[in-house]
Amino acid sequence: MTAGTTQPLKPLSLKKDGDGLRIEWNDGTTTFAPFRALRKSCPCASCTEDVGKPIDPFRVLSAQEAAAGAPVPVGMKPVGFYAYQITWNDGHDTGIYPLELLRSLGENVSPR
């Protein structure tokens, strides 16, 4: 009843591993995506707009942003059947990461 015949890409488990996210996929692959890379590639509208712009030297960080340090997710919830929404320790939470993006941001670390 569903479109296509091949099994769509799906994570089987997602786990924090040091400073990144380890994901086991249904095709047998395991990927590791550093949190820094995930935060930098936030697909939300405001982060996407900021890409390519020069850094504003006068932007004042919020207290939460200043205290945050290295990016770490404090929450990560499924969105429908196709994505995860990450809440970061700097308070940013508008990025919805489709599964394909999570896959592409991770390095293949599958056990041989």
């Binding site: 009843m1 769509p8 799906k10 488990s13 929450g75 919830k77 499924p78 429908g80 059947f81 489709p98």
Partner: protein
């Protein structure tokens, strides 16, 4: 709305009736399918997610109600109904930006006590915008039915609807071709919008073609008079097409498994 995944534990299957194109008969299909499923002994709800242009009240002989005295959903012909048309005067335009639409759709799903249902049919507005995205993100959709006319101009947008559901990984149950043909009084069959479009789309995207529903003046007459054709004239050829569609749904929908995503272990 994203992240606020709504739980509808009493509802077995949530089916979105969609099309990219407006005016192809989504609301008519949704209303008649809901009634046909009810006639098969199912407990059915019908949620009208077309916030700007709700059709459910007229099709069920209802209108604006006193919100302070009326419990929602409203019961009619054995169905549980919810629509923006119960809340806003039909002569008043709803001039809202997207986030308000998303909020209203979310409220209909999450704040209405739908109770125990076998099917909740959601009549979507045309397009691939806020209502569709909210439902895809927040509702545990079992699948989507795509309604199209045979004409290429309708197929162009239906393809976009299909693409959207594929992107958000909602299973497509199949394609229903509405307004496929009309039968003249002399028995001759005419296809004013062309023929074969629905089948073509279904085979193109690899989903089942669920059938053709003919054009018949009785369909709109019944809808406009507040009693959909399936209930008013159950022996009519159009009603039989819907009864068959409902039987197909009853057979195929339970085979779909919800592709829920695992929780994340953040330690």
């Amino acid at each position: 709305m994203p992240g606020q995944k709504l739980e509808l534990p009493g509802v077995k299957y949530i089916i979105a009736v969609a099309s990219g194109k407006g005016g192809v008969g989504k609301s008519t299909v949704a209303a008649n399918l809901a009634l046909a499923l009810h006639m098969h002994g199912q407990r059915v709800g019908l949620m009208d997610a077309d916030i700007y242009g709700p059709s459910v009240p007229m099709m069920f002989g209802l209108g604006l109600v006193d919100q302070t005295k009326t419990p929602f959903p409203i019961e009619k012909f054995g169905l549980s109904l919810m629509s923006m048309g119960f809340l806003v005067d039909p002569n008043q335009a709803i001039i809202w930006r997207g986030p308000k639409v998303a909020q209203a759709v979310g409220s209909f799903l999450g704040q209405i006590n739908w109770g125990e249902l076998d099917f909740l049919i959601i009549d979507l507005p045309p397009g691939t915008g806020d209502a569709q995205l909210t439902l895809s993100q927040a509702a545990p959709l079992t699948g989507a039915l795509i309604v199209t006319q045979p004409a290429e101009v309708s197929l162009i947008d239906a393809r976009k609807g299909v693409r959207m559901f594929e992107e958000v990984r909602v299973p497509i149950l199949g394609i229903i071709e509405n307004m496929s043909y009309l039968v003249a009084t002399d028995g001759s069959k005419h296809t004013p919008f062309g023929s074969g479009g629905g089948k073509k789309l279904a085979s193109e995207i690899g989903v089942p073609f669920l059938g053709e529903i003919p054009i018949d003046q009785m369909v709109s007459t019944c809808g406009d008079s507040g009693e959909p054709i399936v209930r008013k004239y159950p022996e009519h050829a159009v009603s039989k097409a819907y009864t068959e569609l409902a039987a197909t749904m009853l057979r195929e929908v339970p085979k779909l498994t919800a592709a829920g995503l695992p929780a994340v272990d953040l330690g």
